[in-house]
Amino acid sequence: MNQRKILEEKLFKFLSGFAAYSLIAILAFIIVIIFLKGFNSLSWEMIFKTPKGGYYYGGEGGVLNAIIGSLYIALGATFIAILIGMPAALYINVHLIRQKRTQNTIRYFLDALWGIPSIVYGAFGFTLMLYLGMNASLLAGIITVALLITPIVVRTFDEVLNTIPIGLHEAGLALGSTKAETGFKILFKQGFPGFITSVLLAFGRGIGDAASVLFTAGYTDLIPVNLDEPAATLPLAIFFQLGSPIPEVRERAFAAAAILTIIILIISLGARIISKRYSKSNIK
C-alpha cells in the first residue's frame, strides 16, 4: 500500500471519530450549562410556589404554576393520543397484515405527518379554537398537543408491533380469537414495552413543546382548576421570563430550564429501563 492511502485512511478515521465523540461533548456541554445556570437559582421555593406580582415583573415566588400546567397538558394530551393512537397502530398490524402495500403507504403518510412543525399545529389549534368559540385554555392546549403527538404514538408503537413474528398472530387466530382479541390481547401484550416507550416519548415531546401551546394554552400565574382556564407551561415560562428586564425573573427562567431538562432526562432514561425490564417476559 502506498503512503497516501494510509494517510487518507488515518485522517478520515480520525475525523469521523472526532465527529462522533463531539456529539457526546455537545450533549454534556448543553446539560452542564443549563444545570450550572439553573441550580444557582433552584430552590424549594422555586418548585413549590407560584410567582408573585406577575410573572414578568414580580421577582418573588417560583414556577409551580408552569410545572402543574405542563403536567396537566402533557398528561391530558398523552391520554387522548393513546386513545386514538393505540387502536390505529393495532389496526395497521392486525387488519392490514396481509396488505403490505397499504401498510407501507400509511406508514409513509404518518412519517410525513411527523415532520409537520409544531408551530403549524399551534396555528391550526388557534383557528380551531376561534371556530369553536373557545378561549385560550387548558382544553385547547391539550387538544393541540394531542394532535401533535398522536402520529408519534402511532408510528413508534407500530414500529414495535411490526417486529412481532406473524406466527404469534396466526396462533391467536387459529385458537379462535377474533381480530380485535388478537390485537388487544396478544399483540398489545407482546408489544407492551414498545407501547410504554412510545407513550413516554410522546409525553416528553408534549411537555417540552412550546410553539403549539403558545397560541392555545395562554399563560397565567395561577394553577388552573378547570379545563376552560388558561394554563402556564414550563417551556413558555422559560421563554417569557427570559425576556424580562428583572434579573430575579430571569433566574426563574433558568430554574425552569433546569427542571424541564431533568424531567426530559428522567423520561428518556426511564423509557430505556422500562422497555428493557418488560421485554424480558416476552415470547421470543
Binding site: K5, I84, L110, A112, G115, A123, F124, G208, A211
Partner: protein, 280 residues
C-alpha cells in the same frame, strides 16, 4: 380502530383546509406571487410582503445544513463502520436525549453560549458590529438541533447496505476507508440525500430555539451577522396583536399554511426515497 386511523390520516387535510379558510381573505387583495416576492411588511397599511421572512428562513436553514451535514455524515460512518460496540451502546442514549431535549432548552443554551460566542469571537474576526443575535447564531443552534435527527436516519440507511458488498471490496484490497467511500456511501447515496432533505425540512419549521437567538428584525440582507426574522418566528411573535389589526390574522395563517405546504412536500418527496431504499 379504523376510525382512529382515518382521523389521523386526514389530519393534514384538516389542517390545510382550516388554515386556508383563515388565510383566504388575503388572496382577494394580493396575488400569491405578489405575497411571496414583495418585501414591504406594513400590517397597518395592509401590505404583506413575505419575502424577508422566507429569505431569513432559507438562510438560517442553509447555514444549519452546512454546519450539520458533514458532522452527521462522518459520525454516522464512524458509528456504523469503525466504532467499538461499547461506544455504540453509549451513543444510543446520547442521540436520543439530544433529539428529546425541547427546543426551548436549545434556545436557552444558544443565548448563554452561542450568542456571546458569535458577538465576542466571530464578529470581531470579520470586523463588523453586531449584538450576536444574528442569523449566524440561529444557524449554529439549529445545526445542533438537527444533528440527532439527520444522524439517526443516515445510520439507518447505512445499515441497509449489504455486508457482502463491503466484504467484497475489502477482499479486493481496498482499505476500510476506501470501501466506505466507494461502496457504502455510494450505495446509500439516495438515502443520504433524503436524510439531508428531511433535516432541512425540520430546520425550516423550527420555531422557538431559532426565534430566541436570531434577533427578529424585518430585513432581507444577505449577511450572516445581521438579525433575521424567519417565518415560524413571525407567526409565534405576533399572535398577540394579530386580532387587533385587520387581515393580520389572515397573513399569519398564510405563513403557517406556507410552512405546512413546503414542509409536507419536502417530506413526501424524500420519505419516498427512504422507503425505496428500505424496500430494496
Amino acid at each position: 380502530m379504523v376510525t382512529a386511523l382515518v382521523i389521523i390520516l386526514l389530519l393534514p387535510l384538516f389542517i390545510g383546509v382550516g388554515l386556508y379558510l383563515k388565510a383566504s381573505p388575503l388572496f382577494e387583495h394580493q396575488s400569491l406571487l405578489n405575497l411571496i416576492t414583495t418585501t414591504e411588511w406594513l400590517p397597518h397599511e395592509g401590505k404583506f410582503g413575505f419575502w424577508p421572512f422566507i429569505a431569513s428562513s432559507l438562510y438560517v436553514t442553509l447555514l444549519a445544513f452546512l454546519f450539520s451535514a458533514p458532522v452527521c455524515l462522518l459520525a454516522a460512518i464512524y458509528l456504523t463502520e469503525f466504532s467499538s460496540n461499547r461506544l455504540i451502546r453509549i451513543m444510543h442514549p446520547v442521540i436520543d436525549i439530544l433529539a428529546g431535549l425541547p427546543s426551548v432548552i436549545y434556545g436557552v443554551w444558544g443565548i448563554l453560549v452561542i450568542v456571546p460566542f458569535v458577538s465576542d469571537l466571530l464578529v470581531p474576526a470579520v470586523n463588523t458590529k453586531s449584538s450576536g443575535y444574528t442569523i449566524m447564531a440561529g444557524g449554529i443552534v439549529l445545526a445542533v438541533m438537527c444533528i440527532p435527527y439527520i444522524l439517526n436516519m443516515i445510520i439507518e440507511v447505512f445499515r441497509t447496505v449489504p455486508v457482502g458488498l463491503k466484504e467484497a471490496s475489502l477482499s479486493l484490497g481496498a482499505t476500510s476507508w476506501e470501501s466506505v467511500k466507494h461502496v457504502v456511501v455510494r450505495k446509500s447515496y439516495p438515502g443520504i440525500i433524503s436524510a439531508f432533505g428531511l433535516g432541512i425540512a425540520k430546520a425550516f419549521g423550527e420555531t422557538i430555539a431559532v426565534m430566541m437567538v436570531v434577533g427578529n428584525m424585518v430585513q432581507a440582507k444577505f449577511n450572516p451577522f445581521e438579525a433575521g426574522y424567519p417565518l415560524p418566528a413571525l407567526i409565534a411573535n405576533n399572535y398577540g396583536e394579530m386580532l387587533s389589526i385587520p387581515m393580520y390574522d389572515s397573513a399569519l395563517m398564510f405563513a403557517a399554511l406556507l410552512l405546512l405546504v413546503i414542509i409536507l412536500i419536502i417530506n413526501l418527496i424524500f420519505r419516498y426515497f427512504i422507503y425505496k431504499t428500505r424496500a430494496r
